[in-house]
């Protein structure tokens, strides 16, 4: 047992990958075995994350459960893992989402083996990012988390073509805009452009700090030249930000999420986008505090644009998945807004929003998957009255909507509330206003979608029939995430205390530098 305890973090990170390797040797026809192996991999990660949360020493805080395996000692690259308060919460989130995600794809039959392998590899990458304490490995995991997406979307994505029109029709035709392969390619390339920017900054930090180690703590306490921070921070911001859907690098997200299969959308919007925001905070703001302090107003300003722009774009969408995808863009804006405030409440809110939005959007995509599975369309104007045949789906959808629009008692509210509190305290108090308005616009479009899809007299398209409610394994994802939303919304301290601990530890350094900078002429 003590071996497990001593290597718990490695086990959490490796479990999905090991499951993926095991899948290689399973017979092609043994679908059930595949599913169970995947489920076990996900469950091990989830259980491990829960164990980490339960045993995390709240009294001492800081980085706990350190593990270190030298990888390339000559360059100071170590596979070093440890978990802090943020890590705890985000591990939990990832564990929950992948657990739900496996349930949500239980019925997948087309090339199931490859699908699960890629999905699990991706999850390993995500888990790795949240607990690794080595910048280089951070980047490595980050890339792993991004890449399987190409195949996941490209192979198992839905075929929804968009008619080529408008001024760029010729480009559209060439790229097959709206198709899943287009979406997959666009997502991959845009995110990797971000990686290119990150890479440069990683090198800059490494060499600027002496070129001996990539250890995050060491690098985090090095003092980088101001000039370097000023150019490096925006690169990180845009680099990680492209994954977080920062305007104007968000356009991969609607196409990508719309085209992706259910579990992948869940995971991508639910967890992967958080990697980007996490990177901005964990690497960008914490490592380059001067740069962060200088650029915070821009980060916040763009985040505000994100919130409103995403929400208003979502209003104009008719495709259900696009609606949800744009809402993600809007909500990730809230995360970035919280980060930009450089206040305790703002950062708490930002990390909590990652958590809350992860669960919520996971639920959303699971539901959209169900609706699509039954109705074979995502076109909102052709739906209507679905609540009759699928009352539970409707109920869960409303629940997700309510969290999305920040209804108290659900997780989304806590996060938004904290972010707004933080925003009001920050140097730009008015940031909170667009945020609040954004929440209202969210209410407008999500509830309108609810009305159009579930309420009213019945499908507006004659082709929709044979609707039925969720059944069997599909319940898994819905209940796990639905209950999560309520529980973490009513008693947020379950998670928020961890977050708070880490924030209190990390923020003061950044905030004090920001304060100095504000005083300087």
């Amino acid at each position: 047992m003590s071996f497990i305890n001593d290597h718990l973090l490695s086990i959490i990170v490796a479990a999905p990958a090991v499951a993926a390797v095991l899948l290689l040797i399973v017979d092609d026809e043994a679908r059930l075995t595949m599913r169970f192996i995947s489920l076990i991999g996900a469950t091990v990660s989830l259980a491990g994350s829960i164990q980490v949360a339960l045993t995390y020493g709240m009294a001492q805080g800081g980085l706990q459960r350190p593990e270190k395996y030298p990888l390339v000692p000559s360059l100071g690259i170590d596979l070093s893992l440890a978990v802090d308060g943020w890590g705890v919460s985000l591990l939990l989130l990832t564990g929950i989402i992948i657990f739900a995600g496996v349930w949500a794809t239980w019925t997948l039959t087309d090339r199931a083996r490859e699908f699960y392998i890629l999905l699990l590899l991706l999850v390993s990458g995500v888990l790795g990012v949240f607990v690794c304490q080595d910048l280089f490995i951070f980047f490595l995991f980050y890339e792993i988390a991004v890449l399987p997406m190409y195949l996941l979307i490209g192979i198992w994505g839905s075929r929804g073509k968009v008619a080529a029109d408008g001024p760029f029709a010729f480009v559209w035709k060439r790229f097959d805009v709206g198709g899943r392969e287009y979406a997959a390619m666009k997502l991959t390339l845009m995110l990797l452009v971000g990686s290119a920017a990150i890479l440069v900054v990683i090198f800059a930090m490494y060499f600027s700090a002496g070129g001996r180690t990539f250890d995050l703590t060491v690098l985090g306490h090095a003092s980088y030249p101001r000039q370097m921070q000023l150019w490096a921070f925006p690169l990180l911001w845009l680099g990680f930000g492209s994954l977080a859907g920062v305007f104007p690098f968000h356009t991969w997200s609607p196409d990508g999420h719309a085209a992706a299969p259910t579990a992948v959308s869940m995971l991508h919007a639910g967890v992967l986008m958080k990697l980007g925001a996490f990177g901005v905070i964990r690497i960008g703001m914490m490592m380059l505090p001067e740069g962060a302090a200088y650029w915070a107003p821009y980060v916040g300003g763009v985040a505000v644009i994100n919130v409103l722009y995403g929400a208003i774009s979502a209003m104009s969408q008719k495709d259900l998945k696009y609606v949800i995808a744009y809402s993600s863009v809007s909500h990730m804006g809230v995360v970035m807004l919280g980060a930009a405030t450089l206040t305790v409440d703002g950062w708490n809110g930002a990390i909590y929003q990652m958590f809350a939005h992860g669960m919520m959007t996971g639920l959303f995509f699971a539901l959209v998957g169900l609706v699509y599975d039954r109705a074979h369309t995502r076109w909102v104007p052709s739906m209507g009255g679905f609540a009759k045949e699928m009352p539970w789906v409707a109920s869960f959808f409303v629940l997700a909507c309510l969290s999305s629009l920040g209804l108290p008692g659900l997780a989304g509210f806590v996060a938004e509330f904290l972010v707004f509190l933080g925003a009001w305290q920050s140097t730009h108090w008015w940031w909170a206003l667009p945020g609040i308005v954004g929440a209202w616009v969210t209410a407008v479009y999500v509830l309108r979608a609810v009305r159009d899809i579930f309420f009213g007299e019945g499908p507006r398209s004659k082709e929709i029939h044979h609707l039925h409610d969720a059944h069997g394994t599909e319940w898994g994802a819905l209940w796990v995430l639905g209950i999560g939303l309520v529980v973490f919304g009513s008693y947020p301290r379950l998670i928020l205390d961890f977050i708070h601990l880490a924030t209190n530890e990390y923020l003061p350094r950044v905030a004090s530098i920001a304060a100095q900078l504000a005083q300087a002429p």
Binding site: P167, F175, S316
Partner: protein, 611 residues
């Protein structure tokens, strides 16, 4: 058990009931079983509330205030003790105890009534209905016992949610779905003010308490008042309330007459110490309230749907309360809230019973119901008279108190508006009574029959209170401040005369069959205005023409400009590849050319730097 335990019981028992009904589907699907569970729980809740109120008269009458930390301590409060805490808890004092009883009693009556009223619904829907009812009770009670504005806000949003769910109870009807959506949009829109107000308050004081003294009170209260306008349907954010009548009638009685819409007023009552620090806000409230009272009363006159009449009447009465609070009288506002809750709930339930009898909301489909539905009619008449301010009934006392306070403050314009509204109130209630209860029975009314006991019992209970509660004004106000004792004043007499004359004129006009044509024609422009709804139209326009168009524009921008840029870069790169590939001609001598040329250039460069 102490007061706090009773308060917690009456909050969490309904939650437990709701959860039970949500999670145990078989129970919910029995319909009646779910209803009974809910009613039993409502009874217990009511008992709890009564015990809480009783404790106010007992030995432990002091304010009970108990909280737990909900979110981590915010750094915002700095070092000062108790600041920066984000807490939830229980606060029991006279106000919350009174409100608790009002809410739970009305809710109990409504739930009992609903068992009869909703009996013909499908079982699953019936169960769902009672689930939401229980959830509402939890939400409303958690709002009522809130120890600070944050919890009040949480409850506030939750009741808004239940309102959305219950208005949309018949979600298959597009109009109900639309009304639910509209109600949520509008109130949520107003709630932005509450959220902002809370944040400003927290930033300024480090707490969510309403007792703090702060320089920011003006901003905070104005922001809070925006939310009040939304929730308590004040002009111009009142437009959702008439549409909310799409919900089942008992829901209208509970949420959209007695309790939920009064939450806005309750907020002001609760946070009165804050509002008192902001005289300007109070003035604004007085004017908005009185205008709403008048405006809604005028519109109520021309409504032909009995529920719409009552809905506008609710708007109008809420205007009274807001105006009273604006005049600086916590007691007057809260007292009117109390009495109004009983008689308006009574009116709605009685109307529900009438509707149940004739299967129609339209006044013209009623008539002569007094003979067929004696108990219901009696209850309706008691409610109407109480609303009209007939002396001796509850409405008389509270309305009188309000007018007195407004007069006392010298708010002349609001006073005039309120007086006219008092006349109109009596007039339109009179009209409903004469047309629906007397008058010529219509086709529908001929088959009307009295409702069952489960519907009549609540009517009787509420009737008692609609008559009696007016006499306890002093006792109730004494629970939280100076007792306000009733004494007949000049303005009270004026109002009474106006009210009675309103009833009289309406009898003169509508008492006879086919009467009142002229007056209705005179009011026709108002009617048109009310029906086409200028305010409504404005909101609809801003949704349709502004929001959706802006959204479409942004959507286009995203697709074509931003995405276009990204596709453009990709396209450019691919084009560059396609164009450049022609340099690979395939002719080996061309390659040799390149090699030789490159060698020459490189050699020359070497010769140059070798110098």
């Amino acid at each position: 058990m102490r007061a706090i335990d009773w308060a917690l019981l009456s909050t969490f028992l309904p939650l437990a009931t709701a959860l039970l009904l949500v999670l145990v589907s078989p129970l919910r699907r029995t319909g009646l079983g779910a209803g009974l569970v809910s009613v039993v729980s409502a009874v217990a809740t009511f008992v709890g509330a009564v015990m809480v109120l009783a404790s106010r008269f007992g030995a432990e009458a002091g304010v009970v205030h108990r909280t737990i930390q909900w979110l981590p301590h915010s750094a915002l409060g700095g070092v000062a003790h108790g600041r920066g805490a984000i807490e939830l808890g229980v606060h029991v004092d006279g106000i919350s105890a009174t409100m608790l009883v009002v809410v739970t009693f009305v809710a109990l009556c409504v739930q009992v009534f609903s068992i009869g009223y909703m009996a013909e619904e499908p079982k699953a829907d019936f169960g769902r209905y009672f689930t939401w009812q229980s959830l509402f009770l939890f939400a409303m009670n958690s709002l009522v016992i809130a120890p600070n504005l944050l919890q009040l806000f949480l409850g506030w949003e939750l009741v808004g949610l239940v309102s959305y769910l219950l208005i949309g109870y018949w979600w298959k009807k597009p109009s109900a779905a639309r009304a639910a959506l509209k109600a949520f949009w509008i109130t949520k829109f107003a709630d932005m003010g509450l959220l902002a107000g809370l944040i400003v308050l927290f930033l300024a004081t480090g707490t969510f308490d309403w007792t703090v003294t702060t320089a920011a009170a003006g901003t905070v209260t104005l922001l809070l008042f925006v939310a009040v306008m939304g929730k308590s349907a004040q002009f111009p954010l009142h437009i959702w309330l008439p549409d909310a009548m799409e919900g089942p009638t008992p829901v209208s009685a509970l949420l959209h007459a007695a309790t939920m819409v009064a939450a806005g007023v309750f907020l002001v009552v609760r946070a009165f110490p804050l509002f008192e620090q902001a005289p300007n806000t109070l003035t604004v409230m007085a004017y908005v309230g009185s205008f709403t009272a008048l405006f809604a009363a005028v519109v109520a006159v021309v409504q032909t749907d009995i529920k719409k009449v009552l809905a506008y009447s609710t708007c109008s009465q809420l205007g009274y309360m807001v105006c009273a609070l604006g005049a600086g009288s916590q007691a007057a506002g809260f007292f009117h809230l109390t009495t109004h809750a009983f008689f308006k709930a009574l009116l709605f339930l009685a109307a529900g019973s009438l509707i149940h009898g004739v299967h129609s909301n339209e006044l013209s489909h009623m008539g002569g119901l007094l003979k067929k539905m004696k108990v219901t009619s009696g209850a309706f008449i008691i409610g109407s008279l109480a609303l009209a301010g007939v002396p001796g009934l509850a409405g008389f006392f509270s309305k009188d108190l309000i007018l007195e306070e407004v007069l006392h403050r010298g708010l002349w314009a609001p006073l005039g508006a309120l007086l006219v509204a008092a006349f109109l109130t009596a007039f339109y209630m009179g009209r409903v009574m004469w047309v629906a209860l007397l008058g010529e029975p219509s086709e529908h009314a001929k088959h009307a029959h009295e409702s069952g006991p489960s519907m009549l019992a609540p009517l009787i209970g509420l009737s008692v209170l609609a008559i009696g509660v007016g006499y306890f004004g002093g006792t109730l106000s004494g629970l939280y401040g100076e007792p306000v004792h009733f004494h007949l004043s000049a303005i009270g007499i004026v109002a009474t005369v106006l009210g009675l004359s309103g009833l009289g004129i309406s009898y003169w006009m509508f008492g006879a069959p086919q009467g009142g044509k002229a007056i209705l024609e005179a009011f026709a422009p108002v009617g048109r205005l009310a029906r086409s709804g200028a305010v409504n139209g404005f909101f609809a326009w801003s949704y349709r023409s502004v929001m959706t168009r802006v959204a479409a524009a942004i959507g286009w921008f995203d697709r074509y400009v931003i995405d276009g840029l990204i596709n453009g870069i990709a396209y450019g790169t691919l084009e560059a590849g396609s164009r450049l590939r022609v340099i690979q001609t395939g002719r080996v001598q061309d390659y040799v050319y390149v090699v030789v040329a490159a060698m020459l250039l490189i050699g020359l460069y070497g010769a140059f730097w070798g110098r």
